[in-house]
Every structure is written in C-alpha cells, then in structure tokens.
Amino acid sequence: MKSVLKGVQLPNGKTTDVTIEGTTIAAIESTSEAGLDCSGLIALPGFVDVHTHLREPGFEASETVLSGSRSAAAGGYTAVLAMANTDPVTDKAEVAELVARLGAESGYCEVQPIGSVTKGLRGAELSDLEGLAKSSAKVRMFSDDGMCVFDESLMREALIRVKAFDGVIAQHSQDPQLTVGAQMNEGPLATELGLKGWPAIAEEAIIKRDAQLALETNSRLHICHLTTAGAVEVVRWAKAKGAKITAEVTPHHLLLTEELVRSYDPVYKVNPPLRRQEDALALQAAVLDGTIDVIGTDHAPHSAEKKQCEWQNAAFGMVGLEHAASVLQQVLIENGGQTWERFAALMSTKPAEIARLTGQGELRVGAVANLALIDPNARRTIQFQTHSRSQNNPFARTVLPGAVVHTIYRGRFTVVNQEVQELNG
C-alpha cells in the first residue's frame, strides 16, 4: 500500500511530500503523484511515551491495552512503554509477553512492556531482569513505578545487572518514609487545607542517591516524573558529573500547580503531587535548556468510583496521552520559542533512544513509517470524553494549542482527521 502526504512541513521547517510504501518511508521529496492534502500540518516522528499505565492485566475497568492504545494513537503516539504495576505484576517473562501480544493485536501502536525492578513491586527481591530481557518482549526498561526502589543495595544491584543487556532503571523517586499518608505538596497550602504534606526532599533525596549510584556503577538511570525545582538542580548536577541519567516530566507538572487542590477535586490528585508555581516554571526552564530529556505522560487512568469521592479516598493519577503534545507545544513552541526539531526530540527521538526501541523516533527515508501529523494552528478545548476508559483528565475544559490530525503507525493510518480509526485487527 502506498500513501503520499502532500505539502507537509518537516521539523526543520521545510515543506515537501512524504511517500510511504508499505511500512516504510519511501521518499521525502516533492512528487507529482496525488495524495492526501497535508498543507499546514507538521510531520513529526510518531510520539513515544516512556511512561504509560495501560492497567491490563488486572485493572481492565480503568483501561485495557486496546483502549489505551487507541488513546495513544489519538495523541499522536506510535509507541508506549507500559508500566509494570499490573496484576499480575510484570515481573516475569510471561506477563511481559502477554502485554506485548495484546499490544500487537490492538494494532494502534507498539506496546513495549516495562518490567518491574522487584518481584511484585515489593521492594524486597529483584525480579528476573535477565529473563525479562531475553523474553520475546525484549524488555529493556525496568521500573517499580507507583513505588520507589527504596533499598539502595537492591537499586545498586539492579543498575549493575541491566548493564548486561543495555537496560535502564526508571526510578519513581519517592522516599516512602517521608511521604507516609502524604496527600499533596507540602507547604502553607497543605497546612491550610488540612492535607498531609508531601515534601520536595522526599523526591530530591532519592534522585541524588540514585544519581550517585548511577555514577558509581556507570549504569543508565532514568528519573520518572520530576516535579520540583530542587530535583531539576540535582539532575543538572548529575549530568554535569557525567552520570548516564535522563529525566522525564509529565504534561501536568509542567502546567498545573497545587493551587488547583483548593477545589479538593480528586482529578488533581496525582503522584508525585502538583507542586508550586515556581516548580512548574523550573520544570519548563529545564525542558527548554535540555536538562529534562523527554515528556512522559504518566497516563494513569482510574475508574469513576476511584475518583468521585473524598480527596483522601481517591486514587492518585491522571490521564495524559491525548493532550501531551498540546501541552508541550504550549511550553516549548508558544512560550519557549523553540523549534519543532526540539519538540520531536522530546516527544519521539529521545524517548525511543532511552527505551532502546528500534523503528521509532525517526523521520527519514528507509525508516519505519511512524508519524504524527499535527496542526499547530488549531486551538481546542480539551474534553473529558476520550478514547481512554477513564475520564480523570485535569485539562478537561481548558484550551490548548495544536491538534493531532493524523497518526500513522507502521504505514497505516490509526487516526484520520482527528478520528481514531477502526482497525479490525
């Protein structure tokens, strides 16, 4: 099958045609052949999310691999890394292979399982990291996300062991002892609202410790969902020291602040919590200056019953796949004056590189045709109703720039004119 995208703008600003043959980008040059009018659209390598919760197996009421994949496609993603905190936990090859197979069957994007660092996410004993790596799912990224690998000797051993297959440990940086019962960012607002505070140091201290372990072991460490100005400073320090450290920020921590918690609306309850305005500004600056490497959505769907309740009873988490590109456009392009090439690096190239995904994050002749075409001039009101099974979207009713118009996964349109396609297998 052949598709010609007429008049697209490339990340470098050049306008041209892109020809796709089968699953491959066959040409990037003007052609006399007719095709899909893409004038005004920017073609980017399909987005890669290193931090997605698809909830299957075990929590299908909130999300399934299929519904999450459709949501990902709607957001311009052609690959998602599925976190391990499912039931059963992805701590062995069979579970990883199940998740990968469900992803392949969905057909909307590549679903690459993340293995847990410790068995059952219990933080006591390492998972079969080598077995996960050797499985057909070829797991390269490991995380106990939702939980922190708090035992530093286990963390050190994990960092050493993943080197054998070029893996990476993605740490959820949260000192569990400093955050017992924590409900929101620690500070005057938490005091006023009568909610137990979540101190910044609980995140920063773990990042500092892990950065030192990464330096000592010369291993790859990825910091999940950075949230504080202090954490940015720690990452900056670690990079300057030469640590193989990468950092991720979520769309919500870039634009939203703790002030929203005044409403006690659990849609704003997330782990780690929304922080102060100065933290959000520090994160935005870190995206602009390259201290932060990637946008990770931490797409965390929850069913209505887990969110329509008292704040303290509510689950932590927000959905994020469908509007991440718009948030980044706001921060990087509209407010930051950066290029679409930087945008592609944050959303596609660098995440693919961290996760060691081949066939993702590239827009060149001969590469797999994984593409997101966005209309940068669109402005849209974000909706609650999404392709996800869950509606816990903190950006609902807000206006953001940009819209994903078409998504192409392995040469096949998964989204056409903002409509997710029925793929029928």
Partner: protein, 311 residues
C-alpha cells in the same frame, strides 16, 4: 450563600451580616416558645461520619428552632458502614428530599467536594472536616468575642491567642481566617511539633512559649483540645509535660488580666490543656460559646436555605 464549606467563602461584609443575624436569632432562645417558622417545610439532614454529640445537637436545635424537619444520620448506623460512598449517600439523601446536608467528616475537603460535584442540590454546611475547617465554630467564637469586645460590628484590633494542638485543629484554621477577616490580630502558640509549617500565611504570628505569649496581654486566649485521636506519632513527651508547658493552669490563670477572656471549643480535656479552675473561671466564655453555637447555626442554615440557590 448556598453552601458554607470554608470561611474563605465569606467576605468581611457577609461574615458581619451573618453575625448580626445570629445576634438577633440568639434572642429566640430566650423566648417561651423557642421557634420561628422560617424553614418550615425544609428538611435538614445532619450527616455525621464522625462522632460529635455537641455539634450535632447544636445544629439539630438550630434547625428545629427554625421549624425545619431534622434527620440525624451517623456513619455507624447507616449504609456508609456497609461501604456506601459519599456520592451514593448524597444522592440517596437528595432523592429523599434533603434541602440541606450538615456534614461532619473525618476527611479534609469532603464538604467542598460534595458541594461542588453536583451529586446533590442540597445546601452543604461544613460541620467540621478533617484538619481543614470548622466554619460555624469560628463564627460562634467570633460572635462570642464580639459580644464582649469594644466594637459591635467587627473585632478590629482585638488580640487573640490560640494555644495548643494547631496541627490537627480545624477550629484554629477557621478562626485564623475569620478573625483576620474581622480585623483581629491572631497569635498562635504551641509546641513546634504541633504547629504546622506555613500556618502563618493564613494570617497569624507564631510563638512557642505560652508564658511569653501571655506576657503580651492578649484580649482573649483560645485553648484547643489535644486531639489524641488524630495523632499518628509522638508529639509531646507525656501529658504531664504537656500540661507543664501548655496548660492554662492555675498559675497561668492567676497572671491573666482581669478582662482577658478564655475560650475553648470543647470538649475540654480538663487537667490537660485547661484546668478546671480556668474552665470555670468568671472570665471563661465556654458556655456562652455553646449557646451562641445555636444562634450562629440558625443564621447559617437560614442564609443557605433562603438564598434561592445563589452560589
């Protein structure tokens, strides 16, 4: 106003209007027939997820004095104990025709979320939520202070010292906000472990010596209850040590000026944060606070239920 979930929802003018209204309604309690027809045909549900006999009775009397029908629901005796959610409970009460829900809840923000989510059209009145707020307590405290203060309008210039377990106290938070709104100067005083960081941003100065704070001659001293039930750790060495440093005991009582008033939201831990002598002293306004509670709650219920759905 349609709901009262936080003092933040009040302006200075609306707070004064509520207090004026409460002052008038207080006289109903002195009549032979202690009843007005204002809320006849309205149904008020006291939905208490946490025990509080004093506050519940106060709201019940207030509603009955306004001729409302009152239903008391406690968590232990309702389907809440079988796992029913706040949303389902609210919707059930809505279907049963509740016009106002007076909510006491152990979790901060429960009244706010109930008022905001559209699960019920009833007015929501916060009767104390977690460590967040207890707005009607602050209003009754303000009414009590206003009755003995120089001004009959607000509390401008009044110096109020709030002492004890600030960390767990919703009373302290509501009082700081309201006393500021009414022009009073608030100092909070307690052991470091029981004074949460950042509370000064609500509008209070902080100190950690009760004796030194008393030397500054406050106009009113508000003692707070030690909330043992909310303490998940060790916040002070022993009750004896706490009493030594933080109790309004006989020795400190003897140093109080003759016109310094003593308040306590109750229930009092006599012998712990306050001595029996201080609680029963002529300067103590504790029983007047209780009486004013009914008047303030009458004013709040009347205001919420007669606002025609205004937000």
């Amino acid at each position: 106003m349609r709901h009262l979930t936080s003092i933040r929802e009040l302006t200075r003018e609306s707070a004064i209007a509520l207090l004026d209204n409460a002052q008038e309604l207080a006289q109903v309690g002195d009549r032979e027939v202690k009843k007005l027809p204002a809320l006849r045909g309205k149904t008020v549900v006291n939905l208490f997820f946490e025990n509080s006999t004093r506050t519940r009775i106060s709201f019940e009397i207030a509603a009955k004095r306004l001729s409302a029908d009152v239903i008391n629901v406690s968590a232990e005796s309702s389907s809440v104990s079988k796992g029913e959610s706040l949303k389902d409970t609210a919707q059930t009460l809505e279907a049963l025709g509740a016009d106002a829900i007076v909510l006491r809840h152990p979790m901060s923000g429960a009244p706010k979320i109930l008022a905001a989510q559209g699960w019920t059209k009833a007015s929501i009145v916060n009767a104390g939520d977690g460590s967040h707020e207890h707005p009607t307590q602050a209003l009754l405290d303000a009414l009590t202070l206003r009755q003995v203060a120089a001004s009959s309008t607000d509390l401008a210039g009044l110096r109020v010292l709030i002492v004890g377990d600030i960390l767990h106290s919703r009373v302290a938070r509501s009082n700081i906000l309201l006393l500021n709104l009414l022009g009073a100067n608030v100092e909070i005083c307690g052991p470091e472990a029981l004074v949460p960081s950042g509370i000064e941003e609500l509008g209070a100065s902080i100190s950690h010596s009760f004796d030194q704070a008393l030397e500054r001659n406050p106009d009113a001293v508000m003692m707070l209850r030690i909330q043992k039930e909310r303490m998940d750790g060790s916040y002070f060495e022993s009750p004896a040590a706490y009493g030594r440093d933080w109790s309004l005991n006989s020795e400190r009582l003897s140093k109080l000026r003759l016109n310094t008033k003593i308040l306590h939201p109750g229930p009092m831990n006599r012998g712990l944060e306050i001595s029996a002598e201080a609680a029963d002293d002529s300067r103590s306004l504790v029983l007047r606070q209780v009486a004013n509670g009914v008047a303030v709650r009458m004013a709040v219920l009347h205001n919420c239920l007669s606002s025609g759905g205004e937000s």
